[in-house]
């Protein structure tokens, strides 16, 4: 079978890799419009931050073993009747099954001054966008990021790591308004301010004006902001032009069913270009799951796509934000420590986690995400969700008063010596550490209980061979 994949981004490259890993008798051709090797879009903010080189964002290529990867090859047309695709250089490729993984394109706000995109203005989506941003950033000391969503904040954090002073302009009155609540937004705004990022909220942009050495963003309230660089991060729109021209059903994205088939059974769509059950993409996890399902189906398995709930994660130096689910439920846990940038709000429905927003230092965040993903019951002691498990304590608490310690407490793990055994040993006549060690072998394994044994012997010396009634059980 001949499979053609249009698009070599996160979804297309994953599909090619999945198909290759299955070693089925499938001949795969991947046509990527971008001229690059496969790369990880998620790492682009690290590239902006200057921590890594371009080569570091490359991911494993699926080329070889029946997979023909053609980067820099745009597709201009799909002929569904003939089952062929035509490339920009005029090649016509036949397919038995076609997969659209054309991704999305950055949305530009409908304001004057952005068409054509001025020199000091860039969107933030592809490696080429990143290059463009970095080229301008090299000549700028300040930047404005238009859009206070996940992508915009990642871009902002990357640029501050480059030493730029950054303002984030967001049309709504709170950051990441689709994922987090006002409380978290407030704390996040403070955290960003501490990192040198100013947030301008509830600020509709009316126009962008460009000069050779700076850009001006004019806001509806009359303010004007100036910077050497403007990055636009106002969301992504599914790239559907090929599908539309080919006559496939398209709404916001290319419509697909649970088998990820479009209105043409010989054509599938995955990733940001697809619309499944009213949802279009923007995230890697669903795109990869879709790639897995399509690979399974193309190799004879009967897989269906069941979307998982989304977990949004913003993690950059100094920022740690997780958001998931809905903030409704019959039980609510909250914690807020704005001075230290920590905020948590968890909503529980029955005994299941309905949603959560966690910002800052939340040691249980990994557990919370897994509880949400799996829909398993939350811990009986809800504090475990906020504070995590109490770990890092020494196995033997040398500081605990020996008098209060139960007899059954194990003092020496390596030789199974309890406090009671040490007491009995003392009462049988042992009068020094050496005597106690010789009789019980306590401390002779790893040796770390030495202080605890010494403490008990000192206590026994002080109370002078207590009778058993003086030793609380």
């Amino acid at each position: 079978m001949k499979v053609a994949i249009i698009g070599y981004g996160m979804a297309g490259s994953r599909l090619a890799a999945e198909l290759r890993a299955r070693r089925a008798d499938v001949k795969v051709t991947v046509l990527g419009a971008e001229p690059h090797r496969a790369y990880n879009r998620i790492m682009l903010s690290n590239l902006l931050a200057g921590k890594i080189d371009e080569s570091d964002v490359e991911i494993t290529e699926a080329a070889g073993h029946g997979v023909d990867v053609r980067p820099g090859t745009a597709v201009t047309a799909i002929d569904r009747a003939a089952r062929t695709v035509t490339t920009a250089c005029g090649d016509v490729l036949p397919y038995d099954h076609l997969v659209l993984a054309t991704g999305g394109e950055a949305v530009l706000p409908d304001v004057p001054g952005l068409d054509p995109l001025p020199d000091r203005v860039a969107v933030f989506r592809t490696l080429d966008d990143c290059r463009r941003i970095l080229a301008v950033a090299g000549t700028a000391r300040t930047a404005i990021v238009l859009g206070g969503g996940l992508l915009g904040l990642e871009a902002a954090r990357g640029l501050t790591a480059r030493g730029l002073k950054v303002s984030v302009v967001h049309a709504v009155d709170r950051l990441m308004n689709r994922q987090i609540d006002a409380g978290a937004s407030g704390v996040l705004t403070r955290t960003l301010a501490d990192l040198g990022i100013e947030c301008v909220l509830d600020a509709a942009t009316e126009a962008v004006e460009s000069a050779p050495d700076h850009v001006t963003v004019r806001l509806a309230d009359g303010r004007a902001l100036h910077a050497g660089l403007l990055v636009i991060a106002c969301g992504v729109r599914a790239e559907t032009s090929l599908a539309r021209t080919a006559g496939l059903d398209v709404r916001r994205g290319v419509l697909v069913d649970d088998a990820l088939r479009t209105s043409d059974p010989h054509v599938s769509a995955i990733g940001d270009c697809a619309e499944h059950d009213g949802v279009t993409g923007g995230l890697v996890a669903p795109a990869w799951e879709q790639a897995r399902v399509v690979a399974a189906r193309l190799t004879g398995e009967d897989a269906v796509y069941r979307p998982r709930a989304v977990v949004t994660r913003l993690k950059a130096a100094g920022i740690d934000l997780a958001a998931m689910g809905t903030l409704r439920g019959d039980e609510e846990l909250t914690f807020s420590d704005p001075a230290r940038g920590t905020y948590a709000r968890l909503c529980i429905d029955g005994d299941r986690l309905a949603g959560a927003v966690m910002l800052g230092d939340n040691p249980a965040v990994g557990t919370v995400i897994q509880l949400f993903d799996r829909g398993t019951p939350v811990p009986g002691d809800r504090r475990a969700l906020l504070l995590g498990r109490a770990l890092g304590s020494a196995p033997v608490a040398a500081v605990e008063s020996p008098a209060l310690m139960p007899d059954a407490t194990t003092i020496c793990q390596c030789n199974t010596v309890s406090k009671g055994a040490l007491v009995r040993c003392w009462r049988a006549g042992a009068r020094s550490i050496g005597d106690v060690v010789a009789a019980t072998r306590a401390t002779t394994g790893c040796g770390t209980c030495g202080d605890a044994v010494r403490g008990i012997v000192d206590w026994l010396s002080a109370v002078d061979a207590p009778s058993s009634s003086e030793v609380p059980a």
Binding site: M43, K51, N362, V365, G366, D373, A394, T416, T444, C446
Partner: protein
């Protein structure tokens, strides 16, 4: 080192091989710890009580032959005659491969060597493997893949004590090799950072500066995430990568897909902790990464170890003094046991049995035609799984192992062993496997034999006898000598371990694990000898890889590896993870330690450790009987409530037989490279035991 009734030797149990002194006063043998470079005067309860078994009432002191369904005392003459005649007739009826040999990682080097030779030369069977396959095979395969050589620790253990950052992956040393804790205490006292990766807050994890508590079966993803973080934060040792490794580019492109938030969701380990771990490793002047069974006993064990080796290489650790990667060997001679030819695909000196040059060399030492040496056999589990089947072995000789308790999917393995036409077990106690034998041969215990062991550092040690075996018990070498003779091989199987060791040295010469320059005298004179040691007058090798690795081009090979789910993930019918492991007071299948009073008091029975929240949902209280069921069987044991374990996971120690046998449940899915079974994760259902 011997002084009449006082000898310096080593503990019979784990690979730490703690130095101890045995003293004979009349019939009584007493034990004192010895200041040896591994244990530095420490001993755990197992070591202290090891001599309790020497004159244990259940000690087997005569051969036993099954008559009318029962094992009854018999003479050596009758036992040996019976074995030889049954082997001969089975081999005549089928073929040579119809007789299998199963060895153990507790056998001395001399015995491991002689057993491999016995299988190939006296029995001419390709079917030999050993329980070390369940232990070290994943780390060994990954080590060879990366470094060309597999030596558990390629540096002395003392390096651990001075590491600025130490990462333990699936290693619970506080219970499995307690005196190791002295090095952890040193490391801590020097201000070092200890990071432990374990799904349970074990006594080891509780000592950690940072404990990562992942979903069982996700260690590989953590390793890739740590490397991803080191990459994105610019913490890699690029000069080292360029000069000393190959394959980094593909590894880099693979770990690019393991960004921390993805791995957090997969493992449950917070991004913050992943970042802290990566930074602590990368920022240390001396950093050591050690893996153990928790990471290795998986159907992806080899790739998991490779992932941690990749991390170590990317940070420039292996071969840098004070830094490196190592694996913590488990059984007493788990290292030596994998070097001298008791493995299905192997000849002495860590040679490959399908390598014509290796066959020529070893056949030369053995005085046989290389063409008569059998080819590679199958791995331990595959061997056990084939017993009694149409194409499988019909008879088995078993030394130093108890697969009825220690093998995965033990119900199936027991059934296979029962289906054998003939089973011979050499042991000093009637293990659960010995109880199924047609003939049991009584063997010497550790205090009754001379020989060598190779510890977790690759240090060859001397074991000294303090007394003779009781009753009619004989050493394994005496048994192999007598059996070979009756099978018509009069020469080549000396009873004297010194003679065997001399031959082992010649057979290993030029191999990877080269013992040519190791002599018993040299071991005694200086706290052991590290292999490779090709020359009697030349140096040994405490630290490997300082200049080059054991690969053809001298560079370490990095291998891109991908996470994948466990062979069996929880589902609606089996909703929880089961992981298995050890407790301090028991050792392996428990044949020995379950018979020591003090140890039995400390750890009397199997248990199911589970989180109090999970217990509450099941309506189970502490100590109540809990039935645990997997696709392979069910067991019953008391619940032990502990918040040291994840709520989605239960833990069982595997030292017990019968209704509490954890390995009834474990999964026999095998690693594609090492053939290691997936002991550490399977899916189970939990129910209060009715009645």
């Amino acid at each position: 080192m011997t002084d009449g009734d006082r000898v310096d030797t080593h503990c019979p149990y784990c690979a730490l091989q703690c130095g101890m002194t045995l003293r004979a006063t009349g019939d009584l043998i007493s034990i004192e710890p010895r200041d040896f470079p591994t244990n530095r005067g420490g001993l755990c309860q197992k070591g202290w009580t090891a001599a309790d078994l020497l004159d244990h009432p259940e000690r087997i002191t005569t051969p036993l032959i099954r008559q009318d369904g029962e094992l009854r005392p018999a003479s050596w003459e009758d036992a040996l005659t019976l074995i030889a005649s049954r082997i001969t007739s089975i081999q005549r009826r089928y073929d040579e491969n119809a007789v299998a040999v199963f060895g153990g990682g507790g056998l001395t080097n001399e015995k491991s060597y002689a057993l491999g030779k016995f299988a190939r030369v006296a029995l001419r069977t390709r079917n030999i493997d050993y329980n070390g396959r369940f232990c070290m095979s994943s780390a060994a395969a990954a080590g060879i893949r990366a470094f060309g050589i597999d030596r558990g620790l390629p540096f002395p253990l003392a390096d651990v004590g001075s590491a600025d950052t130490l990462l333990l992956v699936g290693a619970n040393v506080a219970e499995t090799m307690p005196p190791f804790g002295r090095w952890l205490a040193d490391q801590k006292a020097r201000g070092g950072t200890l990071i432990v990766i374990d799904p349970r807050a074990t006594p080891t994890a509780k000592q950690a500066t940072l404990h990562l508590q992942p979903t069982p079966g996700t260690d590989l993803a953590i390793a890739n995430a740590l490397l991803h973080i080191a990459l994105t934060e610019g913490l890699l040792d690029k000069d080292y990568l360029a000069e000393r490794t190959t394959g980094f580019d593909e590894v880099r492109r693979t770990v690019a897909n393991y960004w921390p938030a993805r791995v957090e969701r997969l493992t449950g380990v917070p991004v913050q902790d992943l970042e802290s771990a990566a930074r602590a490793l990368a920022g240390a002047e001396r950093a050591i990464i050690l893996t153990a069974r928790g990471a290795e006993q998986h159907a992806k064990g080899v790739d998991t170890v490779s992932a941690f080796i990749n991390l170590a290489l990317a940070l420039g650790l292996p071969g840098r003094p004070g830094s490196g990667y190592g694996c913590l060997t488990g059984q007493g001679n788990g290292q030596g046991g994998r070097e001298h030819g008791q493995k299905a695909d192997q000849l002495p000196g860590y040679r490959k049995i399908d390598d014509p040059e290796a066959r020529r060399h070893v056949a030369g030492v053995w005085g046989v035609d290389p063409g008569m040496l059998p080819g590679p056999g199958v791995s331990a589990y595959e061997l056990l799984d084939a017993l009694g089947t149409e194409a499988g072995p019909k008879a088995m000789l078993l030394f130093g192992s108890n697969p009825v308790v220690s093998a995965p999917r033990a119900g199936r393995v027991t059934e296979r062993i029962r289906s054998l036409e003939f089973l011979v077990v050499a042991d000093f106690l009637l293990s659960e496997t010995a109880a199924l034998a047609d003939v049991v041969l009584p063997t010497a215990m550790w205090a009754e034999e001379d020989g060598t062991m190779t510890n977790l550092e690759g240090r060859v040690l001397r074991r000294h006898a303090v007394r003779r075996p009781p009753g009619q018990a004989r050493t394994d070498l005496q048994i192999l000598h007598a059996l070979a003779e009756r099978l018509g091989v009069a020469h080549g199987f000396p009873e004297d371990p010194a003679e065997v060791f001399a031959e082992l040295r010649r057979a290993s010469a030029g191999g990877i694990a080269d013992y040519q320059g190791v002599t018993w005298e040299r071991i005694d004179a200086r706290d052991g000898v590290f292999w490779p040691c090709p020359d009697e007058d030349g140096p040994d090798t405490p630290r490997m890889f300082t200049e080059r690795f054991g690969t053809p081009d001298g560079r370490a090979r990095m291998t891109p590896v991908e996470h994948r789910p466990a062979a069996e993930e929880p589902c609606a019918d089996y909703p929880y993870y089961l992981t298995t492991g050890r407790v301090l007071a028991q050792y392996q299948s428990g044949t020995q330690t379950r018979r020591v009073d003090a140890l039995r008091r400390a750890a009397p029975r199997a248990f199911v450790e589970l989180h109090p929240d999970l217990a509450a949902r099941l309506g189970v209280t502490d100590g109540e009987a809990l039935t645990v069921t997997s696709r392979r069987g069910e067991v019953t044991a008391p619940a032990r409530l502990s918040d040291a374990i994840r709520e989605d996971t239960v833990f069982m120690p595997f030292h017990w037989a019968g209704k509490g046998r954890a390995n009834t449940l474990t999964n026999d899915a095998l690693d594609p490279v090492s053939r290691m079974p997936e002991f550490k994760v399977c899916a189970v259902r939990l129910e209060r035991t009715a009645g």
